[in-house]
Structures are given as C-alpha cells and as structure tokens.
C-alpha cells in the first residue's frame, strides 16, 4: 500500500503549494481525502462500472447513429466528428459534475462529515479534494471514451487539436460549479435532494447546444443558452472543427460565465455550510 500512487500526487501537490506560496490550503489534507476515495475505487466494481457504463452506452448509441447519418452523405457535415465529439465532451461535463457530487455524497452516506470536520480540514480543502477526485474520474473516463471512439469508429479525439483544450477546461470548470451547487442544495435540504446529483445536469442539456447550433433554439431560449458556459464550449468546438482556428469570443464567453458561476456557487456553498452549522444539521443530513 505504501507505493499507492496518489501519495505521489500528494507530494507533487505539496511541492506546487510550496512553490506558489499557498497558505489557504494544506495539500496533505486534500491528499488524505483523495486517497480515501481511491481506496473505494480500488475495491468497488460498481464504482468502476459507474465510470465506464454510461460513457460506453453513449458512445455506442451516438456512434452508430453517426455512422448511419454519414451514409446519408449530407454535404459539409461530418457526423462522426461533430456528434461523437459532442458526446465525448458532454460526458466530460457530466462526469465532472457527478464526480464532485458523489465524492460529497460518499461522506454523507457514511456519516463521515463529523469525523472529517473535527480535524483541522478547511472547507476549501474539502472542496479541493472533491474536485481532485473528479479529475481522477475524468481521466479514467477520458481513457475509456478515447479508446472506444478510436476502436469502434476510428475517431481520434486528440486529432481535434490543441485549440479544444481550453474549451475542455471550461467544461470541467462548469461541471465543478454545478457539482458544488448540487452539494450546497443537498446540505440545505438533506439527502432527499440527492437525486440532483444524478439528474441536475440533464436540465441544462437542451439549452447548451450540445448536438445542434444555438440558432436552432427559439429566440427566447437562445438568451438562456447565452447564460451557460457549456453553450460557448459546444459552439466553440463546432467552430474549431469547421474553421480550424480558435474562436476567441466564444472562449472568452466561456471563461467569463464560468468565473461568475464559480464565484456564485462557492459563495452559495459557504452560505449553506454556515447555515447547517448554525442549525446543527451537519450530522443530520439524512431525510
């Protein structure tokens, strides 16, 4: 167990924190929670399945649909690249939100919040750990999705180019914001609200222009779409694929809206945490 790889992540994080002079987080505590979650993955087949199952099903359904659409020879539309690319990106967003929420719910289900919050662990470190668990999860999902896309459909995710990297980063940021938001709601209303961890993301899908351009939406809904970072990302992805150049305005839109959502959700989570501490509900989140 001593060679367990997250330990090395911890050492790297400590080094980064020391180099950057961070003093608002102690990375050995983030590392402790990260390793705690890795223990669960190590021995839990259902947890691994949860990472693999949904992305695989998405790849199969959308992949075969893309193959079929390609046989229709629609001019200027590469279904494999556009639809499969969109599915892969959607799964990144989905997984980044879900992983943050599930990492939080694991502590709630095990009634472990008391144990960890009587240690010197800070709220920022707790959130940092849930985000890092998400990074590990997304890394695993990325491997599964890119391998299957290539094996089944000869679609190389990495051929999309470096311009897509900042857009993918924005998807992660938005996923983390949504995850932190759902966690705040669960803090406020207890585990009866935990369904949000699994279903909330679907609410934004129709307005995020995942599989179609924003112009396909009615004008009123286009305004809603403009409020979502995910819309800028999916529009940007299509633009990169069709023009091969970086659509700066869309990237700025994604980062700007993400910055607003991150600030708002972190503030909201801190408020809800203060609320449960005030009401003595930290240990009574069930129901």
């Amino acid at each position: 167990m001593s060679g367990f790889w997250p330990l090395y992540i911890g050492i790297c994080l400590e080094l980064v924190s020391w180099l950057l002079g961070f003093n608002f987080m102690k990375f050995h505590r983030i590392n402790a929670l990260l390793i705690r979650h890795m223990y669960l993955f190590k021995r839990s087949f259902p947890r691994i399945m949860d990472i693999v199952y949904w992305p695989v099903m998405d790849i199969l359904v959308w992949g075969f649909l893309s193959l079929y659409i390609d046989t229709l020879h629609i001019t200027g539309f590469n279904a494999i690249t556009v639809l499969l690319g969109a599915v892969v990106f959607w799964d990144f967003l989905n997984q980044s939100q879900k992983s943050v929420s599930i990492a939080f719910l694991e502590e709630v289900w095990e009634k472990n919040l008391l144990n960890i919050f009587v240690t010197p662990l800070r709220l920022s470190e707790f959130l940092g750990a849930t985000v890092l668990v998400g990074v590990v999860r997304i890394f695993l999902v990325g491997i599964v999705l890119s391998s299957l896309s290539y094996l089944f459909y000869h679609f190389n995710l990495f051929s999309l180019g470096f311009y897509l990297i900042p857009f993918v980063l924005n998807l992660f940021l938005f996923g983390w914001s949504l995850g932190i938001f759902t966690n705040a709601i669960i803090l406020r209303f207890g585990t009866s609200a935990q369904i949000l961890a699994f279903g909330f993301i679907i609410l934004i899908q129709p307005f995020s222009a995942v599989f179609y351009p924003v112009s396909a939406l009615p004008s009123g809904l286009q305004v809603v779409a403009g409020l979502l970072p995910s819309t800028y990302v999916f529009e940007g992805m299509r633009s990169v694929l069709s023009t091969g150049s970086l659509p700066t305005a869309l990237l700025v839109g994604a980062f700007a809206t993400n910055a607003v959502y991150l600030i708002l959700t972190l503030w909201f989570f801190a408020r809800m945490f203060a609320y449960v501490k005030r009401e003595g509900k930290l240990l009574k989140l069930e129901g």
Binding site: S2, R29, A32, E110, P120, G280, L282, L283
Partner: protein
Amino acid sequence: MTSVIEVENLVKSFGSVRAVDGLYFAVEEGTITGLLGPNGAGKTTTIQMLLDLITPTSGTIRIFGKEYKTAREDILQSINFSSPYVSLPGNLTVYENLLTFGRLYGVKELRKKIDELVDFFEIRDFLKKMTYNLSTGQLTRLNLTKALLNDPKLLLLDEPTASLDPDIADRTRQLLMRIQKERGVTILYTSHNMEEVEEICDKVIFIQHGKFKDEGVPAELVKKYGHKDLNDVFLHIARTT
C-alpha cells in the same frame, strides 16, 4: 492549574428553543472532567460547539486560550473526539481509516504511530477487516485509536462506554485512565453511568436545561448533597428545576 476549556455565557438557540442557555464552566489541564446532565440538558450540543460543528448563538468558547474564529486549525490540531454514535466509514478497512485520519492530522511517521496505538488498544488482529464488520467493542477501540492519532492535548468523549458489555466497558475505562496518566491528556467526558463517572472523573459539571447547575469533585458533591452516591446527586439535580 491552567484551564484548557473556558466557556462563558454560552447560548445556543434553535428557533424558539434554547438548547444551551448562558452556560459557563472551565476544564482544567490534565484532568478527567465529567459533563453530566439528563437527556436534553444540552451536553451533546455543548460538545458539538466545543468541536466547532455547531455555531453558538452567542457567548465565548476558549480552548487553550484561543477562539475558533481566529485559530480553528490550531485548536482542532490539538484535540480529538470519540463517540460510539459516530462511526468511521464502514467501507474502508480499519488500517485505511487510521491512515486517512492520520494524514488529515498530518501525523509524522504515521505508520509507526499506528503501530504503537494498535498494540495499546489491541486491535492489530483486525487491521485488515472492513470497518463495517467490527463488533461494538472493536469499533469503540478503533474510535479511541483514531482519537489518539494526533497526540491530542484534549479529548472529548461522548458516552464512550455506551452499548458496551460490562467487561469491555471496564477495559475501556482502564484504557482511558491509562491514557490520561501516561500522556497527560485532558479529557471531557459525558456519560449517564454515574458509577463509572465516580470511578474515573476528577471533577464533574452538572448542567440542566442548558444551564450550569453545579460542579465539584464527585465525593465532595455526594457529601454536599447528603446522598449516598453520585447517582442520587444526579437524580436530585435532575429533579430540581
């Protein structure tokens, strides 16, 4: 003697209910102090405020002379908590749990520390067991092992012997007295077992309806109230409004 815990005019209201109402007390360094009172007296709420799990409505809590609003990390680094009602994650092994909490406290030479404690609490045989498979007695010992990982100067124990059979309860008491003697740890202890409290506590604090009622050395309180034991003193205080 130095006070490790100082509580002054502590109030906690939940809506119109005052769970803790102007409470004050102090716990001296190196003692085992019993925090006693009937159900609903406010003991658990007080303990949770001492751990910064519940925010007080008003009043002051000083631990090692520091307050949570300015020194939360320092305080929590030097204290720990154990309760049979709060178990460690069942889906980790005993060893994984100890490693996780040791890392959270940033314990140096953690594996050596765990090695030392598992012998002290005689839990070496089930280090690889999943925590959900442990018996109540084993869980209590695991909780106490976790509670000593960071070499705390102050231990808050909420009914540590509840739901243990008399043999394991007695062993646990002996362990606690040994910890206090060998490590000089200050212990704040809640229990409904007055015989146990008389046996291990240097001092007791009675609270009722969230208010301070009385305090003193158990034998002196028995004498003061003219009863035969602490159980009768408890009944006397609990039935006097």
